[in-house]
Each structure stands twice: as structure tokens, then as C-alpha cells.
Chain length 373, copies 2
Amino acid sequence: VTSPSSFPAEATVVAVPDLQRFVVDCLASSGVERDQGEIVAEALLASDLRGIDSHGVARLRRYVIGTRTGKIDPRRNIRVVRESPATALVDAGNGLGQPAARFAMELAMAKAETVGVGMVAVQHTNHFGIAGYYATLPLAKGLLGFATSNASPQVTPTHGAQPMFGTNPIGIGLPCGDGDDYVLDMSTSVVPRGKLERLRREGAAVEGHWAIDAEGNPITELDSLISGLIARSGLSILPLGGLGEANCGHKGFGLGLLVDLLCGPLTGSSWGRHVYGEKGADLGQWFAAVRVDCFRPLEEFQRDARQLLAEIRAAKKAPGQLRIYIPGEKEAEAEAQRSAAGIPLLPPVVADLEALGQEVGVPFESVLAGAGA
Amino acid sequence: VTSPSSFPAEATVVAVPDLQRFVVDCLASSGVERDQGEIVAEALLASDLRGIDSHGVARLRRYVIGTRTGKIDPRRNIRVVRESPATALVDAGNGLGQPAARFAMELAMAKAETVGVGMVAVQHTNHFGIAGYYATLPLAKGLLGFATSNASPQVTPTHGAQPMFGTNPIGIGLPCGDGDDYVLDMSTSVVPRGKLERLRREGAAVEGHWAIDAEGNPITELDSLISGLIARSGLSILPLGGLGEANCGHKGFGLGLLVDLLCGPLTGSSWGRHVYGEKGADLGQWFAAVRVDCFRPLEEFQRDARQLLAEIRAAKKAPGQLRIYIPGEKEAEAEAQRSAAGIPLLPPVVADLEALGQEVGVPFESVLAGAGA
């Protein structure tokens, strides 16, 4: 297979099944059962396939070392705490986030099939990867999907100058069909952490008001922004809409705080600045599935939805713009390309996975043996 | 009652019951039954009470003239089209938006009481006022509330230069209790139309990249922006996050388009640029209620939620800022003040209501007779 020209020249292109097996083997070395590891691998690879490199195997280390050191319980501790026809609360028991999230979404889907809607919250859980992965699980069954999670505190409230809650992502999928599913997968901050790291690799600059320091002054350098976030030195990412209320930063703040209220107080998990604190990650998450045909016959919805998307794409373009992308469209294109060609890993990611493999006794060389460039 | 100093000096302060009666009488002159008119009045007054003057009685004319000319059917045509334990689709039959919306939210609340969640969509309806009014209806019963609507096309997709969908508001309420309910009531555009009109009255200026003309150039004058929107001259408001992708305008675009997919294709109503087109308004709306105690005992949720809100308020402030407002807090303060002192109407609103009263034979003088200044 020839590497597509859109892949970075310095990337090593690896085969999906090889990478998948490496993930499962690494987790198995911590005592994670293979069926649980396969769920983690599928969620991570879904992110790499969709071109969201920041949330794919580049983050494998945290799950492997987490389960190895016991910060994350390697065992499957998932149990249903409370249940009604349309709802459930699930306790993840500080296990891996992905299997608990997958369990919760499948329970929500089963409830939706029965009564029209399923909403399932998860308490005491860990990082689940991208919200968009879970939001897309119900689509093949004609169900709308929704997923959200709180996250480590990095975002300031409007008029504040202190990180008080996370970039709190929201994922929503609609089954428009015919390869044109609508998938909105967004953090509620003005810029997600992963984008910052990508921009730094690309040598780009801060383009707007994205973050402030502990004194409330705008930060204009990517290096100091990223290192300050990592060091938790008191600087904050701004909510979607930016600084103050001029461009409605209070709306992004409202969305981020909403996610924290749903994931913290409403699940019984940690919230805001206590997330990744004394109790560990202790994240809360939230999943919903809704039957489209409870409202409209699926084929009628899909016909009209695709017509709406086609009209949006055909709108007049701004100067210098050739194309309007529907949410999820860039990711679907990446997925088609990478499913065929393999996943491009940048040199720092290859180095990190090689080192990780050595630490846990799972050689990464077997993945590289099948790699292109 | 003395007029609070925060009221504009030129305002006429009228009593809530007098204004309410005027609204019902005006609608009755079009053949709207009084119990339906009372729902419209309550929804409009809820907006005035919460300080959102753009969506209160300042908009009465459109409902009264609409029902008078038959653009809006003055009769109650509400019927349930399709139903499951957790869902329903309601046809408003081109009647007034407020009674259909209220019916839908009450149906959602009843379903939530039974199975944990209720989701009710409304097709073929009209403007319902503020989303926040409906989102707060479930709170007193310990239910989470959600409401959304599509709207007349005024917003461009990211990388576009054409108004393709509305400012598509979202309202979400959480019953945190003790006067501290969380109420997020936001348009998905970078600035709502109502704010533009308020800023013009205050003599303010455009503060950021809020809108572009039909050639894609930023508009910097409020006068040309507002008159262009009214004339539908091809200019567009930008989505939340602003121009392009630098500050994640594609997220606001994604949220606005999501609302349109839910309210148009998923209800069977008009979408995008067809709203307020050949079929009339033909709006779609969406309501949900969720039982908090299906996830956590209400008092535990409320204790933790209020603790989270208290921590947010106590965060370090940005330079020059004295206070962090929780979504809904400014509106709750306005409501407390206006419930006691009355509603301040600006001279253009008084003049419009006087003229409207004369047109339909309902004297506004009876309201002014009880007014302060």
C-alpha cells in the first residue's frame, strides 16, 4: 500500500490489526482481560482512524501504566447501581473508562429499543478516549447517540482566572445514512488540548485569545501555554466563545459547566477542580440513545437530513474557501483513507510505543515489521 | 413601588397583572381562547421578568397580527401524532407556539415521571419565545428540562457566506434548588439578534467578528447589521466561536446545525433556509425532561451541585472583574426585582403596544393607568 500524500513524510504507517494486537497485549501485561483490552483498542484505534491522533494510541501509555500501577483497576468492576425503564446509573469501580462507557452505551441502546430513549450515567470511571466514538455506536441501528465526560480542570469560568473545570467534551451522532452520518465531537473550550499539541508540531502560532495566565493576561506562545498546562501552573484555557462576554464566552462556559454538573453531581463522581485529585480521576460520564423512528420513519428523516446537509454544502463560500465541511465529514474521510492505507504514527509516538513495549515486555517491533513509510 | 435605579430612566414601569391581561385581551380579539392566551402571556412575561426584553411583550405584535391575519391559526390544533413510553411527536397544526410547547413539555414531564425520561418533539409550529421558559418548567418537580427550536435563517455555516439556518436557541435547566437553579438559555450564534437591538439602543458598537456581508466581509456597524438582517439582504450572523476555525467557529456551526437537524428533518418540519418560507414559519421544536432521582437522590444532587456552583463563584477573578455569574443568575436577579417592582418598558415598546391596542380595540391606557416611571 502506498502512503497517501496527506500523511506526514516522517510518519511510520502501521497496519490496524497489528496496532490493535499491540494494545491488547500491553494491557494484558497489566492483567486486563483480552475482551476488555479489545474494547480499549477499538476505541483508541477509532480515534486514530478518524484522524484525531491526540486521543489514539498516543495515549496508550496512560492506560497501560495506569492499570500497571493500580491507579486504574485492571479488573472489570462494572455494575448497575440504579435502573428505570429509560435510565440507569452504572458504577465503573475505577476500572478502565472504555469498557464501562461501552457497557453504558449498549445499555442505553437496549433501553431506547424498548421505550424510545435510554440515558445511562457512569460514576467513578476513567478517561474514555473520544466522545465521538461512543456517539457513533448507535447510528447503525437508526438511533441518535450522545456521550459526554468531565475532564481534568483546565478551563476558567467567564470573568475568572483559574482552571475550575475540564475541556468537557460533547459527542452527538445522527444516523443520516448513506455515508453521511452527522457526528459532532467537540470540547466545550475555545481550543482542545490536542489541537495545541498538533499546532506546536506543525510550528503554528496561537491564533486568537485561547488562554490566560494566573493573572488573567492572554497567553500568546504555544510553548508556554502547553508547558504551563502540563505543569498545572495556574493558567487556564478559555471557554468556547473566548475572553469575557463580547463574543459570548459565557455560552461556552455554560456548556462546560453543564457537562460538569451532569457528570459530577448528577452521577456522584468528582467535579470541577477535584477531578484527577485525591480520589484519582473519578470521572463521571453520560450516554444517551434515542430511536429516530419514534419521531419519524427513519428513511424520511434520512432523506430530509441529507437534503439539509447537501444544501449547507452548496451554500455560497466565504472568500478563499472552497468547501464547507459538515461535522464529522473530515473524520469520515480520514477513516476511509486510514482504513485502507494504515495509521501514520509520528516519530515521538513511535518512540513512546517502543519504550512502552520494552517496559511491559511486548515488543513493538512486530508492529513495525509490517509498517510502510 | 419605587423604580429600581437599574431600570432605564426613560422606561415606563407597568404592573405584571395589567400587562398579562392586555396580552390575553389582544389575543382574544383574534379569536384565541383565553386559556391559550394566558399561556402565551405567561411565556412572554417570563421573558420580560427575566430581563430578556427582546423576547417579551416587545414581540406581542407578531402573535396578535399573526393570528389576526391567519398566518398563525388562532385555534388550538394540538394533537399527538406518534407516541412511545418515553417519546411523542406532537403536531401544532400551525397554531401559536407557546401553547403547543407548553403541552409538549408537560407531556415530556409526565413521561419522565413514569419511565425516567420524556422527549417530545413538535412539528408545524410557530415562535415559542425563550427556550429558557420551557426548560425551567420541570425544575420544581426535581426534573431536568431541555428545550430547543429552529428559527429564521440568519446564520452562515463556517467557511460559508450565506444565511442557511437560524440562531437556533438551546435552553437547559437543572433543579439545583434553594434559589440556585442552573438555567442555560443561549442562541448558538456568536451573538443573538436581541442583543444587537439592545446594544444599538445603548449606543454601543460591534465588539468582535459577529457578522459578514454577502461577500464574506466582516460588518462592523450595528445599524447596517440590524437593517441588513431585517431586509434579508444576504448578510449573516456568525456561529458561536466566530469566523472560520481559528476560535472554533465550527463548533457553534455544529451546534446550530444539530438543532436544525433535530427540529427540521427529525420532526418533519421545515429546516434551514426554508423556515419562514413558503409554508409559513413551520418551525420544529424539541423538549425533554429527565428525573434527577433516577440517577441520584435529589437532595444529594442539589447539595453537590450547589457546592460546585459556590466553588465556581469563588474562583480567582480576572483583572477588573468582581463577580462570576452562573448561567441564569442574572436572569433570576432580574426576576426577583421585576416581580416586586414591575416591568420597565422602553418608549418604543410603549408606543408599539399603544398602537397595537388601538388596531385591535384593546386600550393600552388601562395598563398605563397603573404605571410608575
